[in-house]
Symmetry: C2
Subunit: 473 residues, 2 copies
Amino acid sequence: MTPEEFRAAAHDLVDWIADRRAAVEARPVRPDLEPGDLVSSMPTSPPPGGDAAASVLADLESVVAPAVTEVQHPMHFGWFPSNASLSSILGDFASSGLASLGISWESSPALTEVETVVLDWLRQLTGLSHEWSGVIQDTASTACLVALLSARERATDHSQAGSGLVGFGKQLHVYTTAEAHSSVRKSALLAGFAADDIRHIDVDPWTRDMKADHLADAMAADVAAGGVPAAVVASLGSTGATAFDPLPEIVTIAAEYEAWVHVDAAMAGSAMLLPEQRELFSGVEHADSLSWNPHKWMGTILDLSVLYLRDPDHLIRVMSTNPSYLRSTSGGEATQYRDWGIPLGRRFRSLKLWYQLRIDGPEAIRARLRRDLDNAQWFAAEIASRPGWEVVAPVRLQTVCVRHTPSHIDATNSAGVSEHNLGWVRSLNQSGDAFLSPSLLDDVWMARVSIGVEATERHHLERLLELMEEHAG
Amino acid sequence: MTPEEFRAAAHDLVDWIADRRAAVEARPVRPDLEPGDLVSSMPTSPPPGGDAAASVLADLESVVAPAVTEVQHPMHFGWFPSNASLSSILGDFASSGLASLGISWESSPALTEVETVVLDWLRQLTGLSHEWSGVIQDTASTACLVALLSARERATDHSQAGSGLVGFGKQLHVYTTAEAHSSVRKSALLAGFAADDIRHIDVDPWTRDMKADHLADAMAADVAAGGVPAAVVASLGSTGATAFDPLPEIVTIAAEYEAWVHVDAAMAGSAMLLPEQRELFSGVEHADSLSWNPHKWMGTILDLSVLYLRDPDHLIRVMSTNPSYLRSTSGGEATQYRDWGIPLGRRFRSLKLWYQLRIDGPEAIRARLRRDLDNAQWFAAEIASRPGWEVVAPVRLQTVCVRHTPSHIDATNSAGVSEHNLGWVRSLNQSGDAFLSPSLLDDVWMARVSIGVEATERHHLERLLELMEEHAG
């Protein structure tokens, strides 16, 4: 494809994208499809010659796009917001257009240094001290894995350089709660911690926050049994019920055992931009690592997760390689982000964050986050005032956990309540008018109303309430 | 940013990108910068309000772009090609524009199913049987880590679900060669294999291919000592000298010990598209996993690495999680690619591959790869015919390893030869006229001339020869 062919096709695509975003509300939130429907509608083998770009765009429009769940739709309240601000999409275009290669400072000085600058901007915006250094990871799952690998090596005095975990020979423990994101357990297992050695500390039955005294007891017991407390993963703003583990106590307890503290604030981290919410994150200054996802509520298009560390030198020791063909031929000391994570080759992801912070600006982003917090409080109050409806977890930020118990079902009949709630959520989701995530809380199904799509305004929540009454009624 | 503001700014950006690609040859291949230069030229804190998109584009032009190494430049012969075909950039735009969320089939059926379809197309194009299933990873580094985690769990009967490596208690061995990519050792260490337990099998002194009989001996010795051979990582087309480990023998030896065979063909995998080169990859049908990077020579913009497996069910067992909020509410069995790798959230990467295969078409891609192979043979013959110059490794594909020994330096003076070769390569690279990677071969510096940028034609190689004579003379 020549630059002129590209120019023409890209202009067409830009118009298609702008039109599509402008009309997002006219489409159903989710497609009515069964697994395999799309596979069976596409050719089973590739075209031998080339197709015209216009014909590919036509297929994008008629085959691909209708099979996308519209997470930018104002009536999307599922999972967590996966906002893709148009400013960040523009930055993603710039990244694709530059087609830069991030394998070393030298392979693209801009890719390295814009990341350094923009992550320092974000550090300042979220009130972290100069002690912290940031790096972009694809997701919070990977960030947690990277943190736990660092923890494993710190706890074993860098056993990977010698005889490894088998040689180390003691059980290594990770502490978290059952409320932690599924990726925490997955990361721990992948990092070589054993299922038997992962401790799920009890939580407060209403807030779902970790009980710090139980953490202290568990660590003491494990040490008494000859084990080594290697890491705590504290959730700030958990996926289910927005639990905030008590970080000030956790960092103090962990320090006694030199256990690594990783803070998973994947969703909630965006709220660190708001000074009035910053108290929720107190204690973070004493953690070892923090990850959160600008690609969620803040709205930098996926994938852009940030990992901040207080001691990147330790991480670099765990991750570094220095093959001859990648040694810098320049004189100075350069940051090599390949040694701050798993992949060698990196995309120019910081551009999408740079574009968003430059074009939207932090104040407009903050105003939007505050709008969502207000909407969540309003929505929770509405739910609480309606017969049969209840808010089943504290509304710490923008997620409201709701459950409906109709008059004909006894509230103590868990199976009946579960079935009813799964039923109305599925019926609502299938309508395409709105989308909520059904989720389990204390083994009973409820619905998470996750507010925060960029396009969602108060009147969308009013409409959601009507739809919920209709489908649950 | 509104859709109309986005539309206007994106049209400007598209023109800038098309102009920039059309004029790539007019720019130096690499910027003349020292580490920190860009950081010190950018604002130290973010702008509180928003900037106009035009001002961000102006900074992209004047501050960011000049600090990018031009890996799309026809005189770029460094590392490996990191081609970004304009068709794949268009697909990347489509991905950004759809702003889809890949955390489950349901969160974007299209994201899942287009990946299934396009990876099956690529399977057919590379001559793999129906036994193989593919998934997109960000890089070959991550793909190798995923493969070695699968190997670890297969070798320990899924120890992560119980007492882990410490409970398993035996040393687990990984076999590779010193020629393997640096990410192989890194992946092995991160996956929990110990440095002491990684075996670097001897290689042929000219081809640098693994000696299969040494592999058999090493495995037998490790088993005799109570260890467990868990995995072999075979390089097909190594980074330094394009070594091809003898896969037919390796898979037979590994099978005796039920060791996992992962094939790292990060660069060379593109050559699997050429039937006349397919013999280089024989034995691959009996491996357990294969990864290669369409984002290198084939030209699907970074990051797009593919991992093919013969037994994805095992991988899924190692990687899967099934939290309630991600359970599908639809009836059928859907592929959940989150269980095929580390990250939960995934970008719609398959669109860039779909665009490239649709618009460029496999035949045009194959013609370009053949052009590069011809150019490499021509270039190697030219080098071999010039006094003082030698080709120091076999030219298996598109990389030519060269060394210059001027008449005033004795060829047995390794330090002198090293210094001279590092010298002319640095001088050439600093000129901005071309870029080569200096690399160590048998502890003596040489230059890798990696041919295969989409824009590189024969006359660019003629010019390179002139420049090499000039800087080495």
